[in-house]
């Protein structure tokens, strides 16, 4: 009997681990210049659930107000994005000003943004799917954090952001 109870108890973390692995984990890794190292793994399923249940009406209202002026152009932005998705890969924008550099490239289904300066480097990878969903929701005036987190589950094995600022280093990766 004890063996059965033990097996059941042991299966719970295994099952949880399997669900988390199957649904994805966002890992936020922060290294401070003072040696502090914090790693926060956030199961996407948990984040999505929290985002859906959290009261976001106030934040949604604020986003809606911010987007009021841009809203007429959002359908155009969607079309531009769609055209970029369908187009070939390539460098879209390069700005060099002294020792500061910005690059925006289309690589597969990802928009890669790189910013380099003597003090900091920023690398952001934006999945087109996520950007299109965000634009669609913004156009409809219905930004759902839960849906956006859910969209991250389609961007597995992606480093969303890698920021170095002086001695600080932050990465956000979807596993």
């Amino acid at each position: 009997m004890l063996l059965k109870i033990g097996a059941v108890l042991a299966s719970i973390p295994v099952a949880l681990g399997t669900v988390v692995a199957a649904t994805g984990v966002m890992v936020v890794d922060v290294k401070d210049s003072d040696g502090t190292h914090i790693v926060v793994p956030v199961p996407l399923l948990l984040a999505e659930t929290a985002a859906r249940f959290a009261s976001t009406r106030k934040a949604a209202g604020a986003v809606d107000r911010e987007l009021a002026r841009a809203r007429p152009y959002l359908p155009v932005a969607e079309e531009v994005l769609a055209a970029l998705v369908d187009g070939p890969d390539g460098e879209l924008v390069r700005v060099d000003e002294g020792d500061e550099h910005v690059r925006i490239e289309k690589v597969g289904d990802m928009l890669q943004v790189r910013v380099e300066s003597p003090r900091e480097t920023v690398a952001v990878n934006v999945p087109f799917g996520l950007a299109r969903q965000a634009l669609r929701q913004a156009r409809d005036g219905r930004v759902s954090p839960g849906d956006l987190v859910a969209a991250l589950r389609r961007a597995r094995l992606t480093r969303l952001a890698d920021v170095r600022d002086g001695g600080d280093h932050v990465t956000i990766t979807i596993w």
């Binding site: 152009y73 155009v76 079309e79 531009v80 769609a82 055209a83 970029l84 369908d86 187009g87 070939p88 890969d89 390539g90 460098e91 879209l92 924008v93 390069r94 700005v95 060099d96 000003e97 002294g98």
Partner: protein
């Protein structure tokens, strides 16, 4: 860079706006280079034509409606109808200088050469120059709208076959180059 140069560039960009093209099986790309050597500043923009075409739809309704740009509504001095008539007459003539204005060291020339409309602006001698080359078929399409309208959509449709330089602007501190080819990224810069 002065207002006139910027205005010509601004006019040329929407003209290029929707020009998807395929001379072979490649996608046409619109390339814009702005360089200011003294500032150590370079801006390179490369966009596939379908994306440019989509972006053109963002033109405000006050300027464009159904792909057509309205000018002269407020009695401004650019009379599209007059230009249209002039262009129609000039099409039958061979190569010709359409407009030539000289004012001290400044010179503006608009001429037709072969199947292209050439706009040349020189200011302060040779220190500031603007070169715009537009195929005649594009000008035809541009003037295909009625009254005080420029039919930009038709013009960009004509641009589908265009390859090469369209605009070059050089002034004391900066250069601007706009061209179309089938290379993504860092393409055929000369």
């Amino acid at each position: 860079m002065n207002t006139r140069s910027l205005a010509l560039v601004a006019l040329a960009v929407p003209l290029l706006g929707t020009a998807p093209a395929s001379s072979s099986d490649g996608t046409a790309w619109l390339h814009v280079r702005v360089e200011e050597p003294k500032k150590g500043s370079r801006v390179h923009v490369n966009l596939p034509m379908p994306a440019v075409e989509a972006a053109l739809k963002a033109a405000p309704d006050a300027i464009a409606s159904d792909g057509r740009i309205h000018l002269g509504r407020h009695g401004h001095d650019l009379d599209i109808d007059d230009f249209r008539r002039l262009w129609k007459e000039l099409k039958g003539v061979g190569d010709a200088e359409i407009v030539s204005v000289e004012d001290g060291d400044d010179r503006v020339a608009v001429s037709k050469k072969g199947d292209r409309l050439l706009i040349r602006v020189q200011e302060d001698g040779d220190r500031e120059t603007v070169h715009v080359d537009v195929p005649a078929a594009v000008v035809d399409a541009l003037f295909s709208g009625p009254g005080q309208e420029l039919n930009v959509r038709a013009a960009v449709a004509e641009l589908r076959t265009l390859r090469g330089d369209v605009v070059r602007v050089n002034d004391r501190s900066s250069t601007v180059r706009i061209w179309i080819d089938e290379s993504a990224g860092a393409p055929g810069e000369k």
